[in-house]
Symmetry: C2
Subunit: 222 residues, 2 copies
Amino acid sequence: MKPMKKRVEPTESAKARILAAAEPVFAEWGFDAATVRKISEAAGVPVALINYHFGSKQGLYRAIFEKRTPTIMDQRIAGLRLARAEPDLDRRVDLVVKALIYPMFSLRGESPSADFGRIIVREMSDPQSETRGIFRDMFDPVAQMLTEAIAECFPDWTTKEVHWAYHTMLGAMTIVMTDNGRMARLSDGEVRADDWEEAALHMCAILVAGLKHRDRTLTRGN
Amino acid sequence: MKPMKKRVEPTESAKARILAAAEPVFAEWGFDAATVRKISEAAGVPVALINYHFGSKQGLYRAIFEKRTPTIMDQRIAGLRLARAEPDLDRRVDLVVKALIYPMFSLRGESPSADFGRIIVREMSDPQSETRGIFRDMFDPVAQMLTEAIAECFPDWTTKEVHWAYHTMLGAMTIVMTDNGRMARLSDGEVRADDWEEAALHMCAILVAGLKHRDRTLTRGN
DNA sequence: AATAATCTTGAACGACTGTTCAATCCCCGT
DNA sequence: ACGGGGATTGAACAGTCGTTCAAGATTATT
């Protein structure tokens, strides 16, 4: 007896279509300015279907994160496991930085690619995100692991030095996911923010060197 | 004969009160989700007065930038002049990085302080910002000067290396203005993002070292 | 003192918001 | 062949959105 399977095609299709259509809309407009009607039109379904499948606009929003984040977090955890296997602390720094950055950029493999990155940044810069608690629920645990990994690479660093290092890296990463063509404009089209492979290369080089060679004379004492 | 002066107190007061009240509202909600009624209530004036004084919601939004950005840009230009006076290129890097970062953080002196920083980040991560053109008009010129200053510090760098360096720094800076308490949460309250003096100290240390000691083997070619 | 210019006000406009509801559809197991 | 349950639909709900308007209040100029 096969496991009872519901109507496969049209059912899954409609819900998935809404989920897929919602991503670029939330990316372009942000949570508040995105409207369920824009999403329903993009998905080719009546508005009511969104509330039926996801309960509310916020439910749909959260469903996007629940669909996307596990992949990223698993990759980060795998990267961290790889880093911890490296006994040389100097070489390990490189792996920890890459464990943070590369999983986010590898989003480009999937269809809406940059859209989810933009959603993350908008959620991060939205004070209202606290009420939704998405970061607390889905991102913070791995963030904890990353700061601990940094602390292990630099055993004599203070807590502040560790956390500021993490957030400096985090910020550098977010700007790439945010770019709306400003990089191309400032560089006369010579540099493109959507070339993520290159972005990761440059950013990792700078951040790794920054961690290894930072001047601690002003920050060491507490 | 004195220059014709309009009614000084109540007039300037109402317009200024709207401008001041709008800042925290836009910071908390973003351009689209912020409503003219929230602003008018915060300012204690009827809604219609906003359109009378600023033409439209977007006019008010732009007025905030026109009030705030000149101060920041002037400070950056002054910092760059100081940097160019430093003949030692290695020491000059430090001054260029500080010319980028410190003027933004010195916002804390004025009343709404962090609010405008948040507005900037939200505008930066909003694809709709292109239609408003605020960055193009008010930020890009000085951004050009900054990238040129970096290029002068590292004469053998490629255009891509220069621009990625600039954007890495820019991103690191934005995350601090964005933070909604996540840093404190991740560090059990030990590190606070609103301690901007300390933030600048840590970030400059990392970024300066990142620029000076980055590994160029993978990015040098082309 | 009278006129003009500017500022302020409350109410109203049509358009759009997220969500709900009853009715209808379609496919599955019996 | 038939009933049942999840999926789908269009219409409607009560609010809120940015903006406009005519009227009134306040100040400046003649």
